[in-house]
């Protein structure tokens, strides 16, 4: 239940502005890949191109290929909705649907698409997804309560449960812990470690310790200056990137000597 992603020569534009230039990267199945780099270097922008969320913004477009197990996401006739149902996403700020209960939030991917699901199947799916997100024990007695009543960390795990309930191949996470306290962050990191047994996980993070803790491979993005496009500088095993990077810029960044 997981697929690999191969990106070839990808350029990302906002209108005429080239935001990310010429990225080629291979993301292994059933592994955690972390994107690190300074603010504004295009990590999040690039992440959003991996499930075509990028084009939700007006004027945004890409050139190049993103292959999900060999199928080009940007090929002619590919429906972005199909892509997104295979590649889920967790956002920076927890965003449970405020009008829905915890249970309905987990079932959102199914119910919003008007798929018919029996109550028994729904119960199984809710329990499995919430257990998968390490949230079941905390919320099993209040599934009918609104999701917005949970704490920030619980809301974020609810969003992860919501994402895995649609059984995607890949889960993208855009700084999932940046709005959370250290304890909630630890819970999410443990969860990421468990998720990689079943899913391909890609995580954007500002926290280098976090990248070192959770990821198998790390990609370092950098930007030459304001108004210049972001670039992929180096990608490799996390251990190599943090201990023995081949590029000077990477070494400067991971050792904190940047700028």
């Amino acid at each position: 239940m997981s697929k690999r992603i191969d990106v070839k020569d990808l350029n990302v534009y906002y209108g005429d502005f080239l935001a990310v230039e010429d990225v080629t990267i291979n993301i292994e199945a059933k592994s955690v890949t972390a994107f690190i780099g300074p603010s504004g270097c295009g990590k999040s922008t690039f992440l959003r191109t991996l499930n075509r969320m990028h084009e939700v913004l007006p004027g945004a477009r890409v050139e190049g290929e993103v292959l999900l197990d060999g199928d080009n996401l940007y090929g002619p006739g590919v429906d972005p909705v199909t892509v997104r149902s295979q590649i889920g996403m967790v956002f920076q700020r927890p965003n449970p649907f405020p009008t829905m209960s915890i249970r309905d939030n987990v079932l959102a991917g199914v119910k919003l698409n008007n798929k018919k699901i029996s109550k028994g199947e729904a119960d199984v799916l809710v329990e499995r997804s919430l257990k998968g997100a390490n949230l079941w024990n905390e919320v099993k007695d209040r599934l009918e309560k609104p999701g917005s009543g949970l704490s920030g960390g619980q809301q974020q795990r609810l969003c992860i449960a919501r994402a895995i309930a649609v059984e995607p191949q890949v889960i993208l996470m855009d700084e999932p812990c940046s709005a959370l306290d250290p304890i909630s962050t630890l819970a999410i990191e443990d969860l990421i470690n468990e998720l990689k047994d079943q899913y391909t996980v890609v995580i954007v993070t500002h926290n280098m310790q976090q990248a070192a803790r959770v990821s198998d491979r790390t990609a370092f993005f950098n930007i030459a200056g304001t108004g210049k496009p972001g670039k992929l500088i180096e990608v490799g095993d996390t251990h190599t990137i943090f201990s023995n990077p081949s590029q000077k810029a990477t070494e400067d960044y991971v050792s904190g000597r940047f700028g």
Binding site: V56, F97, T99, A108, K111, N114, P146, G149
Partner: protein, 370 residues
């Protein structure tokens, strides 16, 4: 031992000295009322003048006392407080006055037996003259007008809400601030300013041209009212859809939900409380329109329950004709009693609509709590 205890202080500590006592405003108010009454007694007493003079005296007295005791900063603060409270009272005065007048004049009409359940069909000046001479209850009621108002407003709502809501959805979700979206926004703004009589003339002329000359029905009035309602609905729904966080749309897209489903199942439910109360306020805004209904639905004295055929009465036009052309020109009192009664019913309707809007907003509001 005792030295560590807090010494018993006088009531006014070093930190609170130089302040007016708490009772100061009440003292000044009492003095202002007494002095005001005395001044007014010299020129001839009336309650309105007493209020104005006392308010001025109160402001001057309190601010100058404060300036002497507390210094200029506190005095300015007191002056600002006086101005804010004074403006609030001035704004409140017409509202209370209107409600009071309508209640006093309208309750006798409303309590008249049959006022809500009979029409003006067959009620002539003879009955009114007899009512005044013999002191018998005034005959005739507003059932036909109430029915007309409810039907016309309901039909206008049925026309305006889909048009207005869909326009708002286009503007927020699909317009992308393009040329068409900006043009629509501009024309919606223009429509907001259309005088209601013009909307009435438009609807009348439109139906004269399409259906036939002299077409006056409740439906024509409903079209005229929707011309007034649509821009209000568009504007309020647009604002409500705009404040739905983009994160929720993205969350739905990321689950593989289509855009129109996202709008129907996530965006609108999140904004529904605001949209519903906006619609209710738009209804309240048009329910009291008089001019467009006079030129489109005409005026009837009997019950007409068919909104698509024949002239129709409504509460505002009922009030208008009862005051302007009393049923009995010799004794206009019964007519004006009926008009006030109808006015009271209209205000109660608007009040119910506003309460309904609050209730709807509360029922549909996104749920919180653990």
């Amino acid at each position: 031992m005792t030295s560590t205890l807090t010494p018993v202080r006088s009531k006014r500590s070093a930190l609170t000295k130089g302040q007016l006592p708490k009772y100061a405003p009440y003292v000044v108010l009492a003095a202002a009322l007494i002095v005001g009454a005395a001044i007014l007694a010299l020129v001839g007493f009336n309650a309105f003048g007493w209020g104005i003079v006392s308010a001025l005296l109160f402001a001057i007295g309190l601010v100058s006392w404060s300036a002497v005791v507390e210094g200029s900063r506190k005095a300015k603060d007191k002056l600002a407080t006086c101005l804010v409270v004074g403006s609030f009272l001035v704004a409140l005065l017409p509202l209370i006055s209107v409600i009071w007048t309508v209640l006093v004049n309208g309750v006798p009409g409303l309590l008249n037996p049959g006022f809500l359940t009979t029409s003006m069909n067959g009620v002539t000046g003879v009955f009114d003259n007899r009512a005044v001479e013999n002191g018998t209850p005034v005959l005739g009621g507003i059932y036909h007008a109430l029915l007309g108002t409810v039907q016309i407003t309901l039909l206008a709502t049925l026309i305006s809400v889909p048009v207005g809501l869909l326009t708002a959805i286009y503007l927020v979700e699909y317009g992308n601030d393009g040329r068409l979206a900006r043009a629509i926004t501009f024309f919606v703004d223009v429509m907001t300013g259309i005088p209601s009589i013009v909307a009435g003339l438009f609807a009348a002329a439109f139906f004269f041209a399409v259906v036939g000359p002299g077409t006056k029905t409740g439906a024509v009035a409903a079209v005229a009212l929707s011309v007034l309602m649509i821009p209000v609905v568009v504007r309020s729904s647009e604002e409500m859809l705009k404040i739905v966080p983009n994160e929720l749309r993205e969350a739905a897209y990321a689950l593989g939900v289509r855009k129109w489903r996202t709008i129907v199942k996530v965006v609108i439910p999140t904004a529904i409380s605001g949209i519903a109360s906006g619609v209710t306020l738009a209804i309240a805004r048009v329910i009291g329109e008089t001019a467009p209904i006079l030129v489109t639905a005409g005026f009837a004295t009997s019950i007409n329950s068919n909104v698509f055929g024949g002239w129709m009465a409504s509460l505002p036009t009922f009030i208008y004709t009862q005051i302007l052309n009393p049923t009995s020109p010799a004794n206009p009192d019964p007519s004006s009693q009926r008009a006030w009664g109808a006015a009271l019913v209209l205000i109660i309707l608007v009040m119910i609509l506003n309460l309904g809007a609050r209730l709807i907003a509360r029922v549909f509001a996104p749920k919180t709590g653990r």
